[in-house]
Symmetry: C2
Subunit: 694 residues, 2 copies
């Protein structure tokens, strides 16, 4: 079997292998033993590096090398040209061995080194039997939805359109509809459809039918990785097509054994033999957070046996890196898919108004029943619907607030399901306040700030002044979660001046055809005073607010304008909003022309905190070009509400249509409005988060 | 007081202020109220931005502005040239107000806006009284040891020689010698000398003797920051010089009240009045770790009063950022300062040898008494001495291993002290194994790997194979600490093949005059077999190891070479070391010529793990050009130990001098050698860690 052919002094290593011989990443130190025959498995693409002096017998001065046809070698430093065999060697002489293709049978190749005392006086040989295999652990490192073969950068993760590195989803949806829980909480796959939520990973091997005795393959992750990931293997090696075919035949299979998880950091995986692909499915278990950056490394090693009782040596390791997809919020500028509202004993009129608006906007409406909401109507506050995205799968994910009102069970019971994920953060040793409601969690449209792009916008939350010795805050667990997602870097505003304390009480964003593609709308007592002074000036001082609205005492424009205390309260409110205005301009890169002041008044009530005086028009629902705005019941001029006229006129310039929804009794009087009482699932960004330049 | 002078339509804002007017970072939205006089404090360098339309009375069409001499303003969009006063305005007209210098008395400046119905028909004024102050929270953001004035980038942190951002030390030394504990554990300053370990921070203010009523300054940090930092204030405002003077007069002072810490995230700080500097001292409390990146933000805000019961509004905030200095290890290539060894009942000879070597190297020797070490002689294993560094202070810091042998109290009791810090990590719910000893924690000299510079070298630890289902590891708490320091990115080797399991059993680094400035020395059974075969070949097969050493049975070279089992054991050991050799070459960017193989044999004992067969020469102490090497007691040729000859010859080429120290009975037989039994405090790198390009 050993080819005795004369060995070329300048062996023709092909170019592919050249890289491996020069790159220490792929070199393995290998030992020969004089007068012994060793064996090893060689991985195509690597180099075996043998120091010829190490095992040389005393007195040996020359060496010659012989090998079978599939084996190539190179001697370094190279002997002088035309020196006949055997050649002299010294303590630095090394032999670099490679093979081009996988073996078809075990040990089908050999190489021997013959040592000589004198050029013609042979002392003996050191022999090695070789089995060549190809091994590649593959993922979708180029993010095109396909698991390519052996991506050169699969072992690292870089952001951006020219970046690389595979992506993992937290498997936080539930394939089951009954007895459900997020799929990531179970360590078995009960439905083939669940595989879609996992990242495909393929082990590609080529070689003899089986590995030489004692050699095996092992997959392994680090201790930190085990908390973040689970890996399943498809028992069949017939590939994904077969798997998808199964989908139609069986909805409940047990053909995907768990390979790695919290109990197993390393496990043997079968070597399939021949030219094979073994499919693995990688399941993300947790979102990036304070103590988890989101990166996960998975390795596959070829193990060489030593002897019973000794650890097997990993002689080749291939590594891939995943990043867990962040949870992403959707701003008002994205089109609505579904509007969520609560049905309560007293909100029939409101629901009717909403239904019409939703129909106009072409989206669906989902009504949460009284049984489920337990009279908690604040659909905005219990949940925030975002999404997770990867090249192979994307789905909406609801972030459940630690608020936990009557709606507490709604997100888990009614939203979680197939391709609808669920995540929550639980406060420990922390006070949960009204600021933890997600009316206090919004997101801006895409912006550019001092040259830095935020193509997914920036998250906005409300807190107390950092200088306040007492004040309410959003819980640390939720804040840390939001900051850790990284791709929509949050901004903290001052919302503790409000009794309810939510940013949606004084700001919203609407789409615009010009400038940055949106406008920031801010509640503005100054704008309202200006409007009312104008009315008074034009002789409408006796026009009444809340005209004919039984639920509230009517009040004239003159009366409002003459109330100095009320004026002072609104001056205070304006200064609070102005403070936020300055932060928003700075952090979102806005000019004054990007902002529209809406005429809205507040009153200061208990705890010296403010609530809206009349329905807070900024607390609107934005459905494409259709705005659902709390009907303000402002003073009427020529039969038309002056506040509505102003609002409609301001929005008309942006091509937006205003619908005023009566939420006075069922929401406004309970300290919320249209936005507080609704939620919207929106289309996802076309921009891919991994294309961010970080 | 209000200057009635005609206002220039194109006011001559000076160039310094230009930046502020264009940069939204420094703009504050300010509201005027028609027919009212408001007041505010203006911070020099910022811009007050007033929308002139907001408070305009109904019917007003023109506006004029008047101001006292120190006030400048600009109208935007600018009125057409040569338009006489008053000028027309619309809803977008804004007034930008600045002042060049601080006020000398409160409210010494004014600005008024007059509104007109027609050009000559005045309607009334809106007036603002202004007090200008200068405020700057300053740190050593340019890292030159001086707290410069208002560094433009003090609010961010960037690595590298062109980077910026201040540096903070963990105050982990102890100013006290008796009843001591790390200074960071106490929230008061008991000695002025402790201030040296903190980062200076200066609040520079200029303005009237006191702020207008209700205005105040507050310093604040985030919740995360409070776990990482404490801030003290010098009661005196006379500056650091005065403080240093105090040092000689008083060693125990209480003049440094705590401003911020875990109980106070925000606190008022005094406004000193006039042209003042208030000194603060910032104390780091924790090292970077898994859940703490090391960055800390400190802010100083000017608060404006609203009314009793309302939160004061921060109208100006200045922010500085610190990074906590990482713990840095010192490789063998740095010169020794002090050598630490234990005195035991049986190591007199060893101590004598060490003492001579230490004297030769010009360093000091510190002997840990039997009372303190309780017969635990493994000085290498209980501690690792590194250092922390900042532009203003640096000192050594001992990392105390969770090993906790007889030497457990030594680092705290005998090393911790003035300018000698202490840090430890405690294992919770984790098995502490022999791999947690710091003979298993080393650091390479500076290297460059594939173009990436590691000017502080790379940390090296030993663990089990990642593919091992059972095996010993270094505790997660220590590993996480090491990785979090970032500046000496660790490498994990395979050391679990050794019974004791420490990387110092098979590798060390020595200085070299050429190539990369060092050599990696590796234990090599192959090199020893080669040497012994050569001896046999030269007729010295009957030369004996352990010759005349009563403590061990003598054995001939022939006998050793004929023992096939022993040969196989050493083949296994060589393959383990070769595995590490390949990792080290790859991760340190080494060539074979950077590595020297030392002739050392091992034997496989209990648990199929290896121990050194004769004193393990690689387990040496490196003191500059002097090496203290375990005396190997090898076979003698012509009266000279062949192993010593070989070793001396290998080192001679590097200009290194070998001293062989007899550690046979007192260390080797107890499974350790010279390196295990000693520790070295070394000079610190001249390279500054903050100049790393990350």
């Amino acid at each position: 079997m050993l080819a005795q052919a004369q060995i070329p002094l300048r062996p023709n290593l092909n170019q592919d292998r050249k890289k491996a011989t020069d790159n220490p990443r792929y070199q393995r130190t290998f030992r020969l033993e004089f007068k012994k025959t060793l064996r090893t498995v060689y991985v195509v693409g690597t180099v075996l590096k043998v120091n010829l002096n190490r095992c040389a017998p005393p007195g040996s001065k020359y060496v010659s090398v012989q090998c079978s046809p599939r084996v190539q070698y190179r001697i370094s430093p190279p002997p002088a040209e035309n020196v006949p065999l055997p050649i002299p060697f010294n303590e630095k002489t090394v032999l670099l061995i490679t093979m081009d293709t996988a073996s078809e049978v075990e040990m089908d190749s050999k190489l021997s080194v013959t040592y000589y005392e004198e050029k013609t006086k042979e002392m003996g040989k050191a022999v090695i039997h070789l089995t060549a295999v190809e091994i590649s652990l593959d993922v979708d490192a180029d993010r095109d939805g396909q698991v390519e073969r052996n991506h050169p950068n699969k072992g690292s993760w870089v952001w951006g359109p020219n970046g690389h590195g595979a992506i993992l989803l937290v498997n936080c949806d539930s394939e089951r509809t009954y007895g459900k829980r997020p799929d990531s909480e179970s360590d078995e796959i009960s439905k083939v459809s669940d595989l879609k939520d996992m990242s495909p990973m393929v082990l590609r091997t080529r070689g003899p039918a089986k590995l030489p005795e004692g050699y095996k393959l092992a997959m392994h992750i680090s201790q930190g990785g085990a908390e973040s990931v689970r890996i399943y293997r498809a028992r069949s090696t017939e590939g994904i097509n077969q798997t998808l075919k199964n989908l139609f035949y069986s909805s409940f299979i047990k053909d995907y054994p768990l390979v790695l998880g919290s109990n197993d950091l390393t496990k043997e995986v079968p070597y399939a033999g021949g030219n094979a692909e073994t499919n693995f499915y990688v399941e993300g278990l947790r979102f990036p957070d304070n103590n988890f950056e989101g990166l996960i490394t998975i390795s596959l090693s070829l193990l060489e046996p030593i002897a019973k009782g000794f650890p097997e040596t990993p002689i080749f390791t291939d590594t891939v890196v995943f990043r867990v997809a962040p949870w992403i919020m959707t701003p008002n500028t994205l089109n609505p898919v579904e509007v969520l509202v609560c049905s309560t004993s007293d909100n029939y009129q409101f629901l009717k108004g909403m239904k019409k608006l939703v129909e106009t906007s072409g989206s669906k409406m989902k009504i949460c029943s009284q049984y489920m909401n337990r009279q908690d109507r604040w659909m905005q506050d219990e949940i925030e619907i975002g999404y997770i995205d990867s090249p192979h799968q994307r789905f909406p994910v609801v972030l459940d607030s630690p608020r936990d009102g009557g709606l507490q069970d709604f997100p888990y019971e009614e939203l979680l399901g197939p391709d609808f994920g669920y995540v929550t953060r639980t406060a420990h040793d922390e006070v949960v306040s009204s600021l933890d409601s997600f009316g206090n969690l919004e997101v801006s449209p895409p912006v550019t700030v001092n040259g830095k792009n935020y193509p997914l916008g920036r998250i906005i939350i409300g807190v107390a002044f950092p200088t306040a010795t007492e004040g309410r805050n959003m819980t640390k667990v939720v804040q840390e979660f939001l900051w850790a997602q990284k791709v929509q870097e949050p901004i903290a505003l001052f919302s503790d001046w409000l009794l309810v304390g939510h940013v949606d009480e004084f700001l919203t964003f609407v789409p615009a055809p010009d400038r940055k593609g949106f406008r920031l709308l801010l509640a503005s007592p100054d704008a309202c005073y200006k409007l009312f002074l104008g009315l008074q000036n034009d002789g409408h001082g006796q026009a009444k607010m809340f005209d004919g609205l039984g639920a509230e005492e009517e009040i004239t424009v003159d009366k409002i304008l003459s109330d100095e205390k009320f004026r002072a309260e609104n001056s205070y409110v304006q200064s609070c909003i102005d403070w936020n205005r300055d932060v928003l301009k700075r952090e979102l890169g806005l000019d004054d022309d990007d902002i529209i002041d809406l005429p809205i008044l507040f009153k200061v009530v208990e705890e010296n905190r403010a609530v809206a005086f009349f329905p807070d028009m900024v607390n609107m629902i934005v459905l494409g070009k259709n705005l659902g705005i709390p009907k303000p019941f402002g003073p009427k001029v020529d039969g038309r509400c002056a506040l509505e006229s102003e609002m409609t006129s301001l929005m008309k310039g942006l091509g937006l249509s205003c619908t005023y929804i009566d939420d006075f009794v069922s929401y406004h009087k309970k300290l919320g409005e249209v936005h507080c009482g609704s939620n919207v699932r929106r289309e996802q960004f076309t921009f891919k988060w991994w294309n961010l330049e970080m």
